[in-house]
Amino acid sequence: MIDDDVLATHRQELRRGSVVLACLLVLRTPDYGYALLEALDAKGFAVDANTLYPLLRRLESQGLLTSEWNTDESRPRKFYRTSDDGSAAADLLIRDWQQLQDAFAALKDES
């Protein structure tokens, strides 16, 4: 019988970092914080609001995202978009992900 807490920790460790890649991919079309949170949630990436919002700013300061205020609607919203550097980083991360997937598949076949 596996301890639920232990399992939860391992799953969290495995998912850590996947949110960054998901953000870079989703934000190839510009979007604002809350809508991104909903979109990630709908696609199965569980992330907390208080993790996502500071993360967006960190990615912006690293040059992977750019931002723009949109004042067309009733409340001003900050829209984030994946930069060229961000796209390049996303391609690299996707390649890493696929290599991992292949490696796991190979391991599974061997056993």
């Binding site: 809350y34 609001a49 500071p54 919203r77 900050k78």
Partner: protein, 314 residues
């Protein structure tokens, strides 16, 4: 107008952020909270509950602000923790014993009694320990919070930095055996000095130690030296022996050996009456030389051995 829950939440977050980040995060955070409240209301949650739920989801504003400002939520992180404990242990195991002996020395010089000297030396050692704990913690907490300092830090660990197996200093068995022998000698001296079996013509006990020296309380210092050097040896066993411990050990040895040898040679350590009364008048000279040679050799070998052990540990 009374501030809303959101106003209070945003204010609590902004207060903990650098001024240049505030206006931008102010506007964005309000919009994010309003969006979350709208989302919940559309899902059928009553307006009052929706705001509470949205803010609860964002969590403690202190944590949120730390996350926005990229500030650590720990005092000293894993990158610095090993250096922190190492510095603290080295400082504790060398400075505290020296403070204990130093204050006891001053107390005896000033003619304070046994109790007063013990109390002062103990308190001073405790205060020194607290200072070391506090200041090394403060220093590393500051380094943790200044990214420029954090990045500049430290030589990298390398297996080559310690070629030999780590030297642990003396092992506990040796330390305990040495302590027991010293305790037996001390007890024998006290009994000889105050109880007998050697008495003068008036029937009062005569001891082997010169009475004026005994009554001055200066021998109390030996007790402090013993405590300090046993403490250093034990600490060295558990933390690894290095040059700081070797230096403390050397200072303690010099503080012990030099006064004993000088006093013995000048004739103010041993009591000639004791040897005369026990029927061995030449004994004062013979025992005096034995003391000078034994103490001198033991202290010298321990002095040198301390540095040799530190050297092997590098």
């Amino acid at each position: 107008m009374t501030p809303t829950l959101t106003d209070r939440y945003v204010a609590a977050t902004l207060r903990r952020l650098p001024a240049r980040q505030r206006p931008d995060i102010d506007t964005e955070l309000r919009a994010l909270i309003a969006d979350a409240v709208d989302g919940r209301e559309e899902a059928g949650v009553p307006a009052a509950d929706a705001e509470v739920q949205a803010l609860t989801e964002l969590g403690d504003p202190v944590r949120l602000a730390a996350s926005y400002a990229d500030r650590p939520l720990h005092l000293i992180g894993p990158a610095l923790f090993v250096d922190y404990t190492r510095l603290m242990i080295v400082a504790l195991s060398t400075v505290v014993p020296l403070v204990l002996v130093g204050v006891a020395f001053v107390g005896v010089q000033a003619g304070d009694g046994i109790l007063a000297t013990t109390r002062d030396a103990g308190l001073a050692a405790l205060v020194a320990a607290f200072h070391i704990l506090f200041w090394s913690t403060a220093l590393f907490a500051v380094i943790e919070r200044l990214p420029a300092l954090r990045a500049r830090r430290t030589q990298q660990w390398s297996p080559l930095a310690r070629a030999a197996l780590p030297e642990r200093g003396l092992d506990p068995v040796t330390i305990i055996a040495g302590t027991s022998v010293a305790a037996v000698i001390a007890a024998a001296l006290v009994i000889l000095q105050t109880v007998g079996p050697v008495f003068d013509a008036g029937g009062a006990p005569i001891g082997p130690i010169e009475p004026s020296l005994w009554n001055s309380g200066a021998l109390l210092l030996v007790w402090f030296l013993a405590v300090a050097s046993i403490g250093t040896a034990f600490a060295g066993h558990y933390t690894g022996w290095g040059y700081p411990q070797a230096i403390a050990n050397a200072v303690l040895n010099v503080l012990f050996a030099v006064p004993v040898i000088v006093l013995t040679l000048s004739g103010s350590f041993l009591n000639p009456d004791f040897f005369a009364a026990s029927g061995w008048p030449d004994g004062v000279g013979v025992v005096g030389w034995v003391i000078v040679i034994v103490i001198g050799l033991l202290s010298f070998t321990d002095f040198v051995d301390g540095f040799a052990r530190a050297r092997r540990t590098r």
